[in-house]
Subunit: 244 residues, 6 copies
């Protein structure tokens, strides 16, 4: 089984970390390919970044679909950028790491908190929690206050802030599990889990298992209405990324 | 007061119709500039189109902001593409036609129905209705079954299907006002209103009035958290559209 | 265009302030008439006052409708008293200042807080927020603890308490815009806005712009079902206020 | 124990029927006094009537409170007019027949439907269902199409329409109990119950039992915040009805 | 009228206290029989206890139904265990004390808080609040931190903790009434009510009045669909408790 | 990895079919043990059955936990009986087939419908859909009208009714995937999927993959609050099933 993991931003070091996490979660027979888009922002921290990132994600799914190189896709940014459009492009399962982490957490905990990067994203995280129907399971949304690139480059400070917010989530907000709200936090999962004694979910590993499961079971995206293939039409100035 | 109306798709004839509608709604002192993005899909009928269109909308807001040529923006596609990102780019008010039409309709009717183009979009319209808090005001979402370009090119058939779905909305679903779920339907507003005897809202005119109002009152997008300016960062392959 | 602004309480000094605010928001061609009911409470701070005020508001709409003296109405109390009944009496648009301020705020901010007068009203404000579908946009409801008449007579103290509650709303509750939950607070809008650096909405000016917009666009209240004209019937002891 | 049942409209024949129903539900030691307001509409079928009726209801509660003549109150119109204000006036329990019927029905049925008079009221009934938290228990809201006074004067036709709508509620909407959405339908309860074989609730009898229960248990309306006594203030032109 | 009150746990001293409370609430003509199941946990503090208790509750309803010894049932544990199944077994009304206390509280207060025993139950209480549609009426859920048996055996400590949590509920959370979230707290109702000056509801007395009311009115559980009698079938190893 | 699949009813032929389905979904290294409780109903079609079944499910989890014979559990009835209590008993992941199927379906379809057995269960399915936050993803709940045992014994009739209800779900309700609302329907999955051309989910295979994923990732149920181990206490008359 071949799974393509897409890092929606263009920072290759993050793709590498995501790749390591994805591989660690993959079953023996699963081949993980991790890709960095040829277009997009170096990190995703607001709507502007998010919408800019959609295109690169869509482009990678088009490419892998054309090449027949993937049985399923993981979109590895905690805003699930582009996922709904990708479900139209291909009938191979496409799973975003936010949606994946929430479903997985609900199976082992009554309430979870999300620890994200900047608090300017809290509003979108709250919207996403509602969109996935998780409003009664989400104890709180908290932010470390570090940017994605700081998270990537200063692990010590990140671990300190992650721990602090996580402890507040548990003690004040009633969290019983934690979700790491940035793909760049994947390296802290295990340490944080040991420190806190509760399940900590990195979305990448959750999404890999869910895509693997869907592929194994032969389930493909429903093409009957919402996610049917986009009509063939002209996309001005987008030939480099979209095959229409 | 200068308002820029952005047609998120690249079909210039639609920009012209939208422009006419916008002008008809504008106050005497309001200068309307309508623009067609240099990048994007020729019509917007699914997530794939929607996400591709975001970039062109953002690009136009960047451009007008750089040039200081707009006091406010209307995004003239009934999926409100790019709006949240545009609220980050500028502090001039940015209003999408879906959000505008729903608020306006609620002031003159207990329940509204949305008549859209293809039923594959119903799911996204339903999500939008929930996102704007309008689930108890929305009687139903219906589709004519005609594409955006058919809507644009075959007015007779469009009027027939619009009428049919509108009558069902009123009689079966309890609608007391109608929202036209596609910027390309703007030319049918008046005729449909007369036929049905209830308010029919085209989002373009609703959005023009709301932006005008916000500009008149000196209200600008809050920059304190969610919509603060995007961080300066590298956007790979997007120099042509985004100024970062 | 003639707009009648109704102050639902019987305190004429408040009518005058509301009138000034309404005029400041009106377009050049708009004629604002502000009226004080001949029946009702001197201020509105609880359900008892609210229900007593309904009658005066309805009476003024009847009167203006009979005289043909209004193209639209603003109801200038932050509980929107009588609005739904007035939408039955006339097909001219009737807009309450609470509903108006919430819609306007949502166009320029992710989250708003309402600063009201007494905390005994919080429950009704919360109900209203839900009724208008704004529960996910409302960061908090706070009260200055001053009565309507104190708000009117002691501007210094009012400004101090408004500022204090507003700062808490921004820092603790995540507000990105503020709504002034009493028509008598209209004079503090600009000062508070400058102090806090975020949009502050007085409902009166928001409602004036929305009514103007609806009248300009020729939209009238839907008479097809919910807001159709009340049946002709006997209203015992109400001849002085209601024309039936 | 003395319970005052207020018919919010001014039609005395309806007060009499309501009185009979209330008495039939009262415990041996309960003294029922049924009153008709000295001000208000002859029937309640829209917001205009509802708001006009509030005053009469409040007036009766003031009067009975002043005279110390009631241990509890029933407001006998299926829109619960005035109830929230009356909870401020007195600390004796005040129960509306809509709220009462919904709670009671939920104890013996998974889903209920409301059969009301005119479909223009459906929107308000839907709002009330949401306000009382009953949206998942309410299978549907249906209307007979007869006015309140027709309901009162043509029992045969009313029974026929009630039966027809009730059968549709059970067969099509999944209702397992029925609520009669007008105090004037109280005389049909038993016959309809026998015909349909499911519980049918008239709100009057439900409310009498709930007020009796609260009085028996010594529970009084909480005066700590929302329902504390209204401030003493001037009510212009309302001396005849309100004691302030 | 004969009402059977079922203590879902097997601690007889608690049955006795519940019985006293039930008797104090019963009307003169009501005969209260309180029973302790022959199977089940000694106290109910988690899902494990709750599910184990269901069986005993069902068994008692079967028994009383077979013997014709009850016109209605109260299930006296604040998780309403077994109630939905019991509504299938018999058509006599079955009322749980949590549901009863919430409905009653809503008739005399805008917002209530629940004070329960251990905070591990908060999640289930929150689910229950949502299931009964009371999410907007519930100000908070708090726990004393004492087990059910400690609550039963150390009244002084219990009163101290109940008071402390109740005061926080009123001052910080906005509660205007309190619900005692454990049948074993029934003895503290009156004292707490006097201390706090707001209504305090023990569910046992609330449920007794509601069952009495339903029986008096001749209302029986709807047997048309959800609560129709269970099909006759084999229950392996359960002959001692269930009559199938 | 060892997974125990519990058939909550006592019909061994159903355990065998469930076992086959579970095995077909299991990864090569996964050892599936399927068990039938020693206590409980022969089929589960109402609350009475459901609550009776809880005990057997809990008993099996206790047993496997004591024996150390399971790394994770699947509860194979579409009401997820006992699941929340089992999450207290063990820290090995416990997954119910309803929750599993809904999460999986949401990854490949915008909307799903559930096809269940008897319509008396619709209310509980609706409650479950809300409890799992899936109300906006659930297009409808439909029933074949056949009992669990008929479903098991008459495959031809079952297939016919399943097909009929599924087609209505797709055409009338807007379903884009189907969930089989009874573990006994597992054998029809593939055929139905081919017939309809949309994803059809049997909960058993969905749950097996989710438990496998959680075990593989080393995620265990959070023991910090809600699902901490039940207190040691006396369970009267339950020694045979519960180890306390």
């Amino acid at each position: 089984m071949k799974i393509t993991v897409i890092n929606p931003n263009t920072t290759r070091t993050m793709t590498e970390e995501i790749h390591k996490a994805a591989r660690s979660a993959a079953a023996p027979g699963t081949e993980i390919t991790s890709v960095t888009p040829i277009i997009g922002p170096e990190s995703i921290e607001c709507y502007h970044d998010h919408y800019a990132a959609n295109l690169g994600v869509m482009s990678e799914v088009h490419k892998a679909t054309r090449e027949g190189s993937a049985d399923g896709f993981v979109v590895a940014c905690y805003g699930d950028p582009g996922v709904l459009a990708c479900r139209e492009i291909t009938d191979a399962p496409v799973v975003g790491i936010a949606e994946a982490s929430m479903y997985m957490a609900c199976l082992v905990a009554a309430k979870f908190s999300i620890i994200s990067v900047l608090d300017r994203e809290n509003y979108e995280l709250e919207r996403m929690v509602h969109d996935y129907g998780m409003q009664r399971r989400c104890a709180s949304i908290r932010a470390t206050g570090l940017t994605v690139l700081e998270t990537d480059s200063d692990p010590e400070k990140t671990m300190r802030e992650l721990t602090r917010q996580s402890e507040l989530a548990v003690l004040q907000d009633g969290a019983e599990a934690l979700l790491l709200g940035c793909a760049g936090m994947v390296t802290f999962t295990r340490e944080l889990e040991e420190k806190l004694g509760i399940p900590v979910f990195d979305g990448v590993i959750a999404a890999v298992k869910l895509v693997e499961s869907l592929v194994f079971l032969g389930k493909r995206t429903s093409k009957i209405r919402t996610f049917s293939k986009p009509e063939q039409k002209t996309y001005l100035g987008m030939n480099a990324f979209l095959p229409y």
